[in-house]
Amino acid sequence: MEMLSGAEMVVRALQDEGVEYIFGYPGGAVLHIYDALFQQDKVNHILVRHEQAATHAADGYARSTGKPGVVLVTSGPGATNAITGIATAFMDSIPMVVLSGQVRSDWIGDDAFQETDMIGLSRPIVKHSFMVRDPSEIPEMVKKAFYIASTGRPGPVLIDIPKDHTAPNKTFPYEYPKKVKMRSYMPVSRGHSGQIRKAVDELLKAKRPVIYSGGGVVQGDASEALTAVARKLNYPVTNTLMGLGAYPGTDKQFLGMLGMHGTYEANMSMHNADVILAAGARLDDRVTNDAKKFCPGAKIIHIDIDPASISKNVTAHIPIVGPVKQVLEEMLTMIDEHDSGPDHKSVERWWQEIDGWRQVHGLRYEVNENGPMKPQQVVQALYKATNGEAFVTSDVGQHQMFAAQYYLYDRPRQWINSGGLGTMGFGLPAAMGVQFAYPDGVVACVTGEGSIQMNIQELSTCLQYGLPIKIININNQALGMVRQWQDMQYGGRHSQSYMESLPDFVKLAESYGHVGMLVEKFEDLQPAMDEAFALKDRLVFMDIYVDSTEHVYPMHIADGAMRDMWLSKTERT
């Protein structure tokens, strides 16, 4: 059998796992691993400028491809810098494998230089973690890490590797296991057919149904199955922030996003529904508003791979634990074979009601004829410039909500944002990961002047690897979402929510070797956008000044039901 050092085993195991890219930053505890990486060319290491960006880039890669993202960081500050990105991936159930260096094993616990208890620090934000105790464990540990990260409800898995276990002078027999079996980890492979049948019976009896789908449909590659079920039944579909793209955004059965900033028609349909099919969604607080007032007349069918998500916030009447794709496919077969079959007429009146809601209060905003541009106009110009086909990553805040509302996503994995943790600084590094996965793809990062400055240093990484990302900086000179809440709930006292001393982003982009553009007038917006996207091999940073007083609407009225919304600064339901 081949004899390899611990470091060589780590790298070889990544090769055998088919890893294309590993995002990382070197340091003392991982030098042996970096040396092993240097001596091969199958796994491409991407050098970021901050470890948080490494995790977000790996995350963007994972979200856009479905394959686990891989991260390599050193001990101590390298590991702690990775924490935010690991938590981001954990909250959105993204498959990720993080390798962190650790001080040599005989120094653990001695407060050695760059020592931190990474297993302990990361425990609440990983699906699982391993500490290498003997180098011979490495191949099986890596195999298990990828297996756990990418099966069941996906999530990040950490391997902490003390430096002495990667030393080049000690070698061990290497064999990469073809399969792993763990008696304590057996993800469910099928939903219960009896439950699925009950759900189908209920769905076919519905008069006011809504299909509500979430990130699980995207992550579980169940978008086709969902679309087939929805079309067969002619039922309306709404997606969560994480689920956008799982059902085509331009389809007439699509109601838009639901929840805190969901459309009027989506939230009204949910509130008045008699049957809700929740697929790969977790009924979280940004969707339900007050869970006690949630959809009072609805029977809830809930499909989720994670039993702990079911009946956590809202009790499910028909719970189905299983992979959402398999469950929806089985549903489709049962609908075909069902005695009563789908009857599109039975929901005609429901559709009339929904169309009424659409007409009264569809997504809209007021345009200033001579005043500053509206952020919504920027997203619409982006949609036009990219024919609705770009990968769009976003940061967190108002721009994120506008990008979710006004860009219509027709395919899964096209919209990439930090939904659960809400991590500012996610957008640019995530866009890097997407661009590595799709070198010829059009990738736009919709951001704001607050968020972009949280990982601005990655402009340097983008130059090094020639990543032609288009950064759409919706610059309202304020922390917009914070300001909106302060306007609505704190008497307009803008405590620390303004941005003074903004850099000249055009010069900043240029100094990093990229193209910068400043847009201040609406008439320049579309031409500038078209020009930026015509520069196919350059990163373009578009600094676009917009109205700082704009709010995101609709917005749930706190502690109300789904139907309780502000529709503008002066109108409410």
Binding site: G120, R123, P124, I148, S184, D306, A308
Partner: protein, 163 residues
Amino acid sequence: MRRIISILMENEPGALSRVVGLFSQRGYNIETLTVAPTEDDTLSRLTMTTTGDDKKIEQITKHLNKLIEVVKLVDLTEGAHIEREIMLMKVKATGAQRAEVKRTVDIFRGQIVDVTSTVYTVQLTGTTDKLEAFINAVGEAQVLEVVRSGVSGISRGEKVLSL
């Protein structure tokens, strides 16, 4: 409601901290906790008592089951079961009190396992209620030190928690 949850988990470093961490992370309460290897040394058996309504207990068991190292678990309070706790206690034993403590220990079927001229060390096994009743009977003023093992439990009859 008080529940006794019994868990079989991989006997690996870090496994216990994941269980304990889960409770603090999700705001659940641990009242007692006991853990030791089983006849199969790759497995540990952990017993904990906690309180909560049905919904909370359901979430606790679901989240425990999600931990990779947890192999199996059972809520013993769902069926007939036996629970035991062991207590060691130092009690003042001087004057008239000396004979009184001895009588109380006999009534509760405990044993005096160590003696000095002023102190008895008592060993007592039973349910949590029984141990508390004993402390009350002796009188808190007489008690010098108490150490309790926490609850261990097993189901009655032929039902077995094993692989």
